[in-house]
C-alpha cells in the first residue's frame, strides 16, 4: 500500500468512526435541545428547518432543568432537579457521562475557559465544581453563612476572570468565587444585599451581576470591575407600597433584556415589567402586563421584549415594542408556556407549551405561528449560541 493511500485512510478513519457510531459530521450552530421534564428526556432540535432530530432518555428528574454548552457547541451539560449532571453529545445524540452530584439542585454554569462546570444546589446548599471533560469533582463551596447553617444557592453565573458568582437565598448574600486555582476557589462574600435573592443575572459584557429580591422590593447590583465598591441596591420601593399579589411561580432572570440604555426585568408580585435606565440604574418606567412575569426576554436586536407569566396566567405571552414600550401583541399559545428562546439572530422564537405537549416557533417580524412540533411536556429550550455568551 502506498503511503498516500495509507495516509488518506488514517485521515478518513475518524470520519468513518463518527459515521459508524451514528454521529454526524456537521456544525452545531443551528442546533439545540428542549427539556422534556416529565419523561426525563431531551428533544434535539434544529433551527434551519425548524425540526426535531430525535431524543435521548434517562436523564432523571428534569423539572426546572437548565442547560449550558461546551465552548465548541458540541456538548450540552444538563442540570437536573434531582442533582443529576449529564453531559450530552449533540452530534452523536447520546449521553456521554452522567453523575449524581447532590440531592437537589437548581441550575449551573460553565467557566469562561470552558474547563469547569459549576452546579448550584439547594440541598445541601452550595456550589460544586466539576471538570467539564471528565465530570470529576474539582472543588466544593458550601454556602455556610453561619456556623452549621447552609443556604440554598441561586442565580449562579460565570463571569470574566474565570469566576463564578451566585446568591444565597437564606442569607441574603452574593458570593464571588475566583477559580484561578480550581481546586482552591477564593471566595469573596458580600453580605446584607437584601432579603431572599431568588435569581441572578450578569450583563452580557460580564461587568454587572444583578440579583432579584423576593423578600423585599428592589435588586442588588454588584460591579465586578470594582468589587471594593460593594453591593448597591437598585429599584428600591418599585412596588410603591402597593400590596404585593401572592406569587405562584418565581420569576427568572436569564440573560439581560436590554434595548439601548433600557433594560427590562420582571416585577415580583405585580403585573408589571420594570424598565431600568442602565446609565444610572434608576427606574425609568413600568409597563402594565397581563400577569406576573416569569421570563422577560429581549429579541437579540433589542427591538422587542417577550414576556410569559406565572400561574394562573401562564397560557399567555405578550410582546412589547421597545420603541414606545407598548404591547403590540398578546398571544394565547395554550396552558403553561414555560420558556422562550430566540434564534441567534432573532428572526424566530421558540416557545414550549407544556400542557399541550407542543413546541411552537413564531416569526418575530409577523408575530405569526410558523411551526408546531410535538414534545412531551416541554419546558426549557436551549440553543447552542449560548456557548459563546457570558452568563448563559
Amino acid at each position: 500500500m502506498s503511503t498516500k493511500i495509507l495516509l488518506s485512510l488514517i485521515c478518513l478513519w475518524p470520519l468513518a468512526a463518527l459515521a459508524e457510531a451514528g454521529c454526524e459530521l456537521r456544525g452545531t450552530g443551528d442546533l439545540g435541545v428542549v427539556v422534556e421534564r416529565a419523561s426525563g428526556s431531551l428533544e434535539f432540535i434544529e433551527t434551519t428547518h425548524d425540526r426535531l432530530r430525535g431524543r435521548v432518555e434517562g436523564l432523571g428528574d428534569l423539572s426546572h432543568a437548565s442547560v449550558v454548552y461546551s465552548r465548541d457547541g458540541r456538548y450540552a451539560y444538563v442540570f437536573g432537579r434531582d442533582g443529576g449532571l449529564t453531559q450530552v453529545d449533540l452530534l452523536c445524540r447520546r449521553v456521554v457521562k452522567r453523575v449524581m452530584q447532590a440531592g437537589n439542585s437548581i441550575g449551573g454554569a460553565i467557566s469562561q475557559d470552558g474547563r469547569l462546570v459549576a452546579v448550584s444546589n439547594y440541598e445541601p446548599g452550595g456550589v460544586r465544581i466539576f471538570d467539564a471533560r471528565t465530570l470529576d469533582p474539582v472543588a466544593e463551596i458550601p454556602a455556610e453563612y453561619a456556623p452549621g447553617r447552609r443556604s440554598k444557592t441561586v442565580g449562579l453565573v460565570d463571569a470574566p476572570g474565570n469566576r463564578f458568582v451566585f446568591s444565597l437565598w437564606d442569607a441574603g448574600e452574593i458570593w464571588v468565587a475566583d477559580m484561578g486555582d480550581p481546586a482552591h476557589p477564593r471566595v469573596r462574600r458580600f453580605k446584607g444585599i437584601g432579603k431572599q435573592p431568588y435569581d441572578g443575572l450578569i450583563t452580557p459584557d460580564g461587568r454587572y451581576y444583578i440579583a432579584g429580591l423576593f423578600g423585599e422590593d428592589g435588586m442588588a447590583l454588584l460591579d465586578l470591575w470594582n468589587l471594593d465598591a460593594g453591593v448597591r441596591r437598585i429599584l428600591p420601593h418599585y412596588g410603591r407600597g402597593e400590596q404585593r399579589l401572592p406569587v405562584y411561580k418565581m420569576p427568572h432572570l436569564e440573560g439581560w433584556a436590554v434595548a439601548g440604555r433600557r433594560a427590562f426585568v420582571p416585577a415580583v408580585g405585580h403585573h408589571e415589567v420594570l424598565v431600568v435606565d442602565t446609565d444610572d440604574w434608576s427606574l425609568a418606567g413600568r409597563i402594565p402586563v397581563y400577569g406576573q412575569p416569569v421570563f422577560v426576554m429581549a429579541r437579540p436586536d433589542g427591538r422587542q421584549v417577550w414576556v410569559n407569566f406565572a400561574f394562573p396566567d401562564n397560557d399567555t405571552v405578550q410582546v412589547i415594542d421597545t420603541r414606545d414600550m407598548r404591547i403590540v401583541k398578546t398571544l394565547k399559545p395554550g396552558r403553561a408556556v414555560l420558556h422562550m428562546e430566540f434564534e441567534p439572530r432573532g428572526e424566530a422564537v421558540w416557545l414550549s407549551v407544556r400542557d399541550r405537549d407542543l413546541i411552537q416557533v413564531y416569526d418575530t417580524a409577523t408575530l405569526g405561528l410558523v411551526k408546531e412540533l410535538p414534545a412531551r411536556k416541554p419546558s426549557g429550550i436551549f440553543l447552542t449560541d449560548r456557548a459563546a455568551r457570558t452568563g448563559l
Binding site: D61, H64, R81, D82, N104, Y122, P246, Y248, F311, P312
Partner: protein
C-alpha cells in the same frame, strides 16, 4: 380593573363548582386537574416529584407530623412572610382534602 374582573370570575366559577361537587369530592376530571396542579404548579416550588425545592419536601413522612387542619390552613391561606402563596382563589375545601389525602398517603397515587 381587569385583574379584579378576572379573579372575580374565577371566584364565581369556583363557588359554582364547589356547590355542585363538594358533597361527592372532586369529579374524575377535577382529580386529573388537581393531580397536574400538584406536580406541575405546586411542583414549581416543591419539586415535580414533591421531594423539595425552594419549598420543603411534601412527603408523608414529613407531613404526618402536622395536624391536618394546620396543613389545610397552610394550603388555603399560604404562609405570610414565606413564598408559600394562598390557594383559596383556586381550590375548594374538597379539592384541598383530596390533595391532602394524596400528600399524606391516605390515597395511593
Amino acid at each position: 380593573m381587569r385583574p379584579c374582573v378576572r379573579s372575580g370570575m374565577a371566584f364565581a366559577a369556583i363557588l359554582g363548582f364547589t356547590l355542585t361537587v363538594q358533597a361527592a369530592g372532586p369529579s374524575p376530571e377535577r382529580q386529573r386537574y388537581l393531580d397536574d396542579l400538584l406536580h406541575e404548579d405546586c411542583g414549581a416550588c416543591h419539586g415535580m416529584t414533591l421531594k423539595g425545592g425552594l419549598g420543603p419536601a411534601l412527603l408523608p413522612q414529613r407531613l404526618r407530623r402536622y395536624p391536618r387542619a394546620f396543613l389545610r390552613a397552610t394550603i388555603l391561606q399560604g404562609r405570610p412572610g414565606t413564598p408559600m402563596p394562598p390557594w383559596r382563589p383556586f381550590l375548594s375545601d374538597a379539592d384541598v382534602d383530596w390533595i391532602l389525602d394524596r400528600l399524606l398517603g391516605v390515597m395511593k397515587p
